[in-house]
């Protein structure tokens, strides 16, 4: 922070003025629409209604009576937990492996970011093809190795479709986790690793007692960011399964999209949005708290 006495009121006004454009954009594009959607959750607003009609908690009552909604809660949970843990595990392992000196390491590191750069519809298209029931390479390999005798129609099987969307999203995000963990490993103190080795530590001990504590904060932030991102996931799932087969991959975002823009039940869609927001908020609080501490502490 600049010393206050060197700044006069005009300069503070300049500082404030700098934030005004972003503030206006924030209010118009994010805050007001969000607040309005929260309010819509207490209204009935259908394709045939001219105006929203206040109905209190009726949407929520209907929602909690609907087994389909409880199902989408569960589906969202499975998707977020599986995807986040697989991505974290793969990304961290990959970073540790690529941290070792080897020929072509720089190229591999750079090229590994490719999945993350591809448009997500491309990712969805690609993984639908890999998992294709009749001509997909996954089936070909499984049949070849004798693990299965009949091809599996992944995208029309409730478990198979979930596996398909989880692997597509994990594929897309593993590089990012790798990147951040690799960055965190740059500052791993040489002396601590060597000291541990002198004490007779093997690789697992080094990872467990030196590396993990060192990258703990990075991992924590990555996990929360991943979880928040996965809770918002729409494009890959919509493109691969549209939430099917039979709602087996209908996560909150798909549910809200369908209710809002296919069935035109905006009140119900918003009510789901409220519950969805609360779920994200619970996960986001520790992350935001660390951000807020930083904004105050600097």
């Amino acid at each position: 922070m600049l010393k206050t006495r060197t700044l006069d009121a005009a300069q503070h006004r300049f500082g404030f003025a700098l934030t005004v454009p972003a503030l206006i954009a924030f209010l118009l594009l994010i805050f007001v629409p969000f607040a309005r959607s929260l309010w819509l959750a207490f209204n009935e607003y259908l394709l045939t209604s001219a105006e929203p009609r206040f109905v209190g908690l009726a949407n929520f009552v209907r929602l909690f009576a609907d087994p389909g909604f409880r199902e989408s809660w569960r589906v969202t949970g499975i998707f977020v937990i599986c995807t986040t843990s697989i991505t974290t595990l793969f990304g961290t392992t990959y970073a540790l492996l690529l941290n070792e000196p080897m020929r072509g390491r720089t190229i591999i590191r750079a090229a590994s970011l490719l999945p993350w750069v591809l448009p997500s519809t491309v990712t969805a298209l690609l993984w639908s093809w890999l998992y294709n029931g009749q001509y997909g390479v996954v089936n070909a390999v499984l049949l070849w190795t004798g693990l299965i005798h009949q091809p599996i129609f992944f995208l029309s099987d409730s478990v198979g479709a979930m596996i398909a969307v989880i692997s597509a999203k994990a594929w897309l995000s593993t590089p990012v986790v790798m990147l951040f963990v690799l960055a965190a490993l740059q500052s791993l103190p040489q002396e601590q690793v060597e000291a541990a080795r002198i004490d007779g530590a093997n690789d697992f001990h080094v990872i467990r007692y030196v590396v993990l504590p060192h990258i703990r904060k990075t991992l924590g932030v990555m996990i929360i960011l991943q979880a928040m991102g996965n809770l918002q996931m729409f494009d890959i799932i919509y493109a691969m399964t549209s939430g099917g087969p039979v709602r087996a991959t209908t996560v909150f975002s798909i549910e809200v999209y369908r209710r809002a823009f296919e069935n035109w039940d905006l009140g119900m869609a918003s009510a789901i949005g409220v519950i969805w927001f609360l779920t994200i908020a619970v996960i986001a609080i520790p992350y935001l708290r660390s951000m807020f501490t930083e904004t105050h502490g600097s």
Partner: protein, 432 residues
Amino acid sequence: MITTRLSRRDLLTLGAAAGAAHLGASGKVFATGQDDMVYVGWSHTEAGSKAYLEQVFDRFRAENKASKLETIGVPFAQVQTTLLLRKRSNQRTDVAQLQERWLSSFVAAGGMSDVDEIFGSQFVDKTYHPTALAMTKINGKRYALPWVAGSTGLVGNAKVMEEAGVKEAPRTIDAFVDALRKVKKAKPSSSPMGFSTKNPGLTQFESQLFFWTFGGSFFDASGGIVVDSEPNKQALTLLADLVKDGLILPGNDRFDLRRLFAQEQVAFYPDPPLARAFARAQSGQGTAYDKNVLPVAMPVLKAGNEAVSLQWGHLLGMLDYGGAMAAADGPSGRFVKMLSKPEVQIEYYKATGAFPSALAAIEALRDDAYLTGWLELSRTARPDELVSFANATELSTVIGEEVAAAMLGQKTPQDALTSMSDRLKAIGPRKS
């Protein structure tokens, strides 16, 4: 370090370029004048009918130099959402291609003109075939003109049948299942019966062929929900068994089935007469493939029963979205009339297999075997059970999802019907 050389001036240039591109790329620069019109549909994006319809649009443009025709192509599955988004966003839309079973939703949403008022009921009655016109009325008012008429029954692939030793189209359900088994034996990778399990709307639509064959239905005459019945259970059990035995491969949409049909991986699947156009396009053999595309009656439960079939058609709705004004002699009126001309409909039929709706065109095609074959099967066609409901889309999704759940083995047929019944009651069917 390429980027460090990016100066502020470069960024400004970039910004200006992006700004200019925005101005030039607004969706509203086109088709806003009185003499212009916007048409939204899906057939002109599809392989079977694209070439012919583009040609018709060009002809319209040539004959109506003063009007600008903007055609917007949307994939079938996105048409309803797109049209309703356009309505909500006040985007001009004059004429829309509609599936007959969507009509009540659109009427409920508002913005559909009464075509009798625009064209005069005398003209409408005189021009179109009564069966085709039957699809256009909601609560006694005519909200659309029929464009393509017909019915959905089964389409059979003569070549696949022959190779499997199936001599003639099976008449009963038992014979039908036998035929499917023969096909599966001859072609283990095939899906002898094609069925759309991926798209709930089509799953619901196609499943009616089976429910009706067993004497079941979703609703009774007064609109009550009668899903949970013995005939329905038998029908759904059959569908689930066909999947279990590999006679229906799951996970397909109508598009997949059409391609699989042309690749000779499907012996029978539900489709309207347009099927022939897709077989031509996707077999790569053009009209030479016509001999393999057979209209097949839906098999019956007991010999002597009447084969069921589904009323089906494409309609043309006259809309007032975004201030569009329909008039019989305005551009939208002329456009619709052009598509209704007997000679255009006959050409369209020859190019794609789309059945005409105009009386004169049907009359002129009396000698065509494919057409007469279909017409014979269409005699018993019934409308989709959902046509009269304002929230048909929502209901159709629920029915389709539960049917697919049973077919994919996620639920027993009984559980699926129970849950379908509960969910339909929770939504509440609304007549428009």
